[in-house]
């Protein structure tokens, strides 16, 4: 296959992505195995995202794919990482056209950020705070509109700032809504959630329900690897047991650590003694 074919195949994979770990992994593996053609493949992500026929749920899934891709990239000498960092702001802008994608994007961006040597804790924490400024609050009272901020940053930081800006807009809209006079009549769900909106960036009822189910399934699957350990050598050690299992619930200090290994040793002796035949 030449580069063009590979890019075409990759585009097809992205269009047919479903939010299942297996499917996401498969697409990531394809991209990474063909990382020789990275220069052809990484622009494909943006091309697919700009496709007008791509629905909002699909955009969110593509971002989940990027998360998986970057997570796996270390096995292929960090392929795609630098290039994706460059286009990350554009990707966020594209995916967050609908506020429905904001939470998923936030989660994936947190995960992606771990692979860059940049401290983004400040932005991660900000996401859950009140982002409205005094000026914004004044505008809410005056029933005004806020203008989008422009940023000079680039790469990961810019991506975070764009996401936080989207969040700020969403908070602004909600604050304005809550200032309006409450309605006393009973309303239908279409009116309340605008699930039949003609806005192309709004999710339909069917899309929302499908997203809920996908998220639940993904959450369930994410737990399947909860206790997996990336072990360099195929040797199981007591240290691993302490670090990965015991310390997860109750971190031990050095002194307690020693006691812990002593206790394990006692237990092992006890178990060995319980066998009729010599074990080792």
């Amino acid at each position: 296959m030449d580069s063009f074919d590979i890019a075409n195949q990759f585009a097809q994979l992205l269009r047919n992505l479903t939010p299942q770990i297996g499917v996401l992994n498969k697409a990531a593996t394809f991209a990474l195995k063909n990382s020789d053609n990275e220069d052809y493949l990484f622009p494909t992500i943006l091309n697919v995202l700009h496709d007008k026929n791509l629905n909002i749920n699909q955009k969110s899934t593509i971002f989940q794919f990027i998360d998986v891709l970057i997570d796996e990239a270390h096995k292929y000498n960090g392929a795609y990482v630098k290039n994706i960092e460059k286009i990350l702001p554009a990707i966020i802008k594209n995916i967050c056209v609908s506020s429905s994608n904001m939470f998923n994007v936030y989660q994936s961006l947190c995960s992606i950020s771990k692979h860059f040597k940049i401290n983004v804790k400040e932005y991660e924490d900000k996401f859950y705070t009140d982002l409205l400024t005094e000026e914004d609050k004044k505008l809410i009272e005056e029933n005004g509109q806020i203008e989008s901020k422009k940023f000079d940053d680039h790469g990961l930081i810019l991506a975070w700032k764009i996401l936080l800006e989207r969040k700020r807009r969403s908070q602004f809209e909600r604050a304005k809504l809550l200032r309006s006079n409450p309605i006393h009549e009973t309303v239908e769900e279409d009116e309340l959630f605008k699930v039949k909106s003609k806005d192309k960036y709004a999710l339909s009822k069917r899309q929302i329900l499908s997203r809920l189910e996908d998220d639940r399934e993904l959450h369930k699957r994410s737990k399947e690897n909860l206790w997996n350990v990336n072990r360099d050598k195929s040797v199981l050690t007591e240290q691993e047991f302490k670090d990965h299992y015991w310390n997860k619930f109750n971190a031990l200090n050095d002194e307690e650590g020693k006691e812990f290994f002593n206790a394990l040793s006692d237990l092992n002796d006890l178990v060995s003694a319980s066998y009729k035949d010599q074990q080792y």
Binding site: P182, F193, H219, K220, L270
Partner: protein
Amino acid sequence: MVDKFNRPTGPRGNNNQQQRDYNSRDYNNNQRDFQRSSYIPHKSNSKNSQSRDSYVPSGPKRDQYRPNNNGFRKDNNNIRPSGPSGPSGPSGTKRPLPSGPSSLKKRRDFHHNNIPKGPKIRAIPEIRKDLLPHQIYTINKTGPNIYEKVQQVGEGTYGKVYKVKHNRTNEFVAFKKLRLESEREGFPITAIREIKLLQSFDHPNVIGLLEMMIEKNSIYMVFDYLDHDLTGLLSHPDLNLQESHRKYIFKQLISGLNYLHEKRIIHRDIKGSNILLDKIGNLKIADFGLARPMKILTAGELPDYTNRVITIWYRPPELLLGATDYGREVDIWGVGCLLMELYYKVAIFRGLDEISQLCKIFNIMGTPNMSNWPDIDKLPWFEMLKPRLNLASKFEDKFKKTMSIEAFKLAEKLLMLNPKSRPTSEEILQDEYFKNDPKPEPLYFIKDFEGEWHEFETKQRRREERKRIKEEEDAEANARKERIEKVSPQCTDKSVKTSPESKDAKE
């Protein structure tokens, strides 16, 4: 368990011991081991027996319901569980229990022809005189039909529930047959969790697991049988609950829930059909298929549970908005819904899916705002499902007039949109609602109700009623059609179809 150095031996040592016991048992020849099978209620364990008011188990005796598999195949209506199947198959070399139907097919040693027939009936050995009464178990031989299925009383994703009669004591128990056909990965871990939880319960308002039974490839959980469930009972046309009766039911519900919550257990499926009631309204919380113990968290750690829990009508808004770090408050919302049902007989939020459920809730309770639920925008699905309108609460207008003031105030607290604002079960028990008159009173009058009222039967009745009405309507429509044809025989079929009267008939 401790070792000789007085240190805990840990689960592994334990298992080894169990395994050794297990392997050494020979059910056909070693009756003593067999009688000590842990699932058989101990005779001296009178505490549990006394605490169960509706059923005093005589204790299933293995010899009594040892299956005659051929007999069972002839008459599937009779449930005769075999008790725990022996650890050794016919050859005694394979794994002790089949893990499920899929593995069954693979196992050559578990072919129908090879189903163990159980121990041969032997002469009753003479009882040693130095044994204490509680060391002696019943060894009477009886016919094979120790349990007899009466009727089905429930059904869910887990399987089916049957009312079953114990032929010797004439008492009824409920058999919950686990659905294992669809299990690909052996015995479901959720069932293990349920059994483990049930075994730890000892409270008058929480269902007790009497025993587990295994027959062929089916596994049964055996419970106390209660005549009604709350949904079924509330659908009874003659039911006229007074405030004292509602308090009697609700207080028991909260006591049972408080017991669970004190044990750090979240029920996660509170609904009318899981609240069982006996002939005078004594209540037990049942169905722990979705229940789970709460995690013990370290500083900064958040619980991470699935939000695919709770029947949609009773599901609180935080779960509908995707919360995975919830707690006992999800059950409190459910009992809030049930308190309303005690007054209105039907659930007040009846949605078809997550979106319509949220819509029903917001229409009645109002949409959340910054003051009553400031953290709502942290929920995963909030951006997707945020209300685009600002709705006022209609709860007071709709319900205040028809409830007592204390009941209304309590319901208002239980149905707080923000889970953090809901009271704990402990606080509910201290509420004015229970302190003020009238005092709780048993529902003696439901003894006179004919039949048993469970949601399952109620649904059946409704289905039959709908069928009857449809048949009547069809008959009426046909009669009308015939009348029209008689009155205007010149009309063609086409003209009849287009006349307004015939349209009505069609409808």
